[in-house]
Point group: C3
Chain length 315, copies 3
Amino acid sequence: MHLDEIKQALLESYRSDGGINHLDGANLPSQASVNQLAADCMHLLFPGYFEESVLTERALPAHVTQLLAKIDQRLTAEIEKCLRFAQVPKPTAEARERSTAVLSQLPALRKLIQTDVVAAYQGDPAARSVEEIIVAYPCVLVISLQRLAHVLYHLGVPLLPRMLTEFGHERTGCDIHPGARLGSHFFIDHCTGVVIGETATVGAHVKLYQGVTLGAKSFETDPDGNPVKGVKRHPDIGDNVTIYAHATILGGDTSIGARSIVGSNVWLLKSIPADSVALFKGDSVVVRSRRKHEALVGHSAAGPLPESSPGEWQI
Amino acid sequence: MHLDEIKQALLESYRSDGGINHLDGANLPSQASVNQLAADCMHLLFPGYFEESVLTERALPAHVTQLLAKIDQRLTAEIEKCLRFAQVPKPTAEARERSTAVLSQLPALRKLIQTDVVAAYQGDPAARSVEEIIVAYPCVLVISLQRLAHVLYHLGVPLLPRMLTEFGHERTGCDIHPGARLGSHFFIDHCTGVVIGETATVGAHVKLYQGVTLGAKSFETDPDGNPVKGVKRHPDIGDNVTIYAHATILGGDTSIGARSIVGSNVWLLKSIPADSVALFKGDSVVVRSRRKHEALVGHSAAGPLPESSPGEWQI
Amino acid sequence: MHLDEIKQALLESYRSDGGINHLDGANLPSQASVNQLAADCMHLLFPGYFEESVLTERALPAHVTQLLAKIDQRLTAEIEKCLRFAQVPKPTAEARERSTAVLSQLPALRKLIQTDVVAAYQGDPAARSVEEIIVAYPCVLVISLQRLAHVLYHLGVPLLPRMLTEFGHERTGCDIHPGARLGSHFFIDHCTGVVIGETATVGAHVKLYQGVTLGAKSFETDPDGNPVKGVKRHPDIGDNVTIYAHATILGGDTSIGARSIVGSNVWLLKSIPADSVALFKGDSVVVRSRRKHEALVGHSAAGPLPESSPGEWQI
């Protein structure tokens, strides 16, 4: 078989096996362009951190003007592609408007993202400075990009939000859907393997470790066998909750009460009340009040949980 | 110590600590070149998806001719390096032949990969369009490259297949060995942490979640303490099987029967029959027929599994 | 809202929300520069492996001279930034000295890293050659960079060591803190999801699988709520220990005795003696002597562990 025959066979397969190639339709955002957009936004959110040379107070206004214009141009272009793809009327004007709407959120996002940086510094004994968090902790990239993608998601822009969070997922191993609602002071240590679903909500001052899943149970499918979209499928995590490594919490009606602690490897399909501790007892999960638990084990339950003891109640 | 002394010490270590440097031998494929090859193949498999500008039906033939020639040239060169490294006779002619053999498989691979895209769309309620799957789901990259690497693996090309799958592993956190045999309609959600071993087989319409391992038990070693290569070490997964997050299935004589479901965190070292459900009961894995299970829990076992109940049988 | 207003709001937020921007202070190492440094060091450690063209014995001295000078220049510059940031006196002279100190360790590091390559070849039946390990196994990159970062860590250089290990973490999903002490012949199979904390120690001939955590229990906080830094928080792993996928070992006073085996998914908060086997029995971890275990199961415990049997003792 020669290259020319292979070419003909490929062209034929583009015709016959439609559905995975996208021609003469609206052009889609290119990954290279989305990657550049993500990098530029990180520079704008953390001025002076990722530049090759010193960025002075004096040079800052010109720097911001230039960077903002560059981001606006690219963001508008990529949003327009997404809107054309979704056949939204007046895509050009709409894209300009939504790009401005996103950028106008940046100062508020910075305020929020700063709380994540503080939470990381306070949450990890290995961190020696706030600067170390920003230049070397994966949670900063993945949470910042999700917060940005979340704004796009709520503006009804298709494709682009998920491409932005996937940029973060690829670099950190942490997959947070753009739809997830994240509170302030959010820290994810190590990041690798964490999955947070589209309809999950996470309160303020929540701390997750590697491998935690906030996922879905079963889902409904329509007569064509396609899943029904947009149903609440993922859990709600209260304020000040800590979830240790590889815990799995599933279901749209599952909620973790405020100030509760979920132990390493715990697998939860049901809600637990505020101020409780869930730990793994193998054939089931055991839950007790945090006060009772700390009395039993004789110290604060800030760390992974010891083996359980009599008197606890099952869920 | 000055740089010159350090240089001398390094040159001396290249001589004395041989085995990790590769000089004057066959040159090995460069990672940069393999990365470019992987990217070009994705462009050829999904025309119009990853281009910066619109790709028209009209421009397609010229585009394919050019891209195919570029890929053939690079693929032939890298295969030749691998064959020289393995001291295969007539490496130049052999490389040309095997490169053509790989490229002639591309139309068939496209057909297969399209089934994976459909499976992802049908398998994830969060997916809003087939296009979103292709531009933003890591499973598309990692499965497509493994299917390509699998062709090279069967042509007896060393090094290159593993370098291609490692390109996918680095970007997705999903490590599928080139030797694994994957059926059609294969969906891996989230991808991070999934490991599929060299001698594993996966049926059609199989769905995996993050952190699933299809791995090996112990292996034999030869008198020099090196493992014996090429033994069947990894499990066989039947058609229409679903395996939830962080399940671990080990062993070359372990098979999961068709239409079975393996629950989150289950750890399996033994086979289970068709139409069964395996769930984690802590001190052992419990298996029951799917019909019985669904009668017990009162709903389809499409989601993660509830706690077990009496009457089930142990494996 | 126009771009100019957004710019003003951003400039205002840079002033008001201080703490996440870094201006007119010491410039920090740029990620791009650290990435180049990591790549250049891999080239120097593995000459002839990652070059585009053949590297001959004859061309080697000139190649090393040039590469070493390039690395020294960049390393000195980045170290100086870190020392200025930490307000170390005489940062320029100090940086020059510490860069030389790091580079003078390279020959010794090569010797050590070669033992890791051998361990990977002997530890994985799927590996067909030592060359395949170096060009396609993620453990080589992440362990080599951690060994390099560990030298910088002990020279008291802030920021840079963690940036180097994060480069490896981003590419492999394996997060090894620069402070961790790693023995020779260290093999991590698949790498994804592995976390090794700052104060962990790992003996010689240790083998880890994907998803293993060597982590911390609870930690002390000071009156401001910031964690107390520098306390021993992570476990000690003895020589010739094997730890299977997704096992979690926590605590600074937890030690795993030499030649012991920790089974898949085991969750350990307490020490186990030498020559023992720890396996998961759901509501607790069961430990027995390796001799007893192998008598019970009738074969070497080189693979994942079968279900337990009576007569073992609890920890």
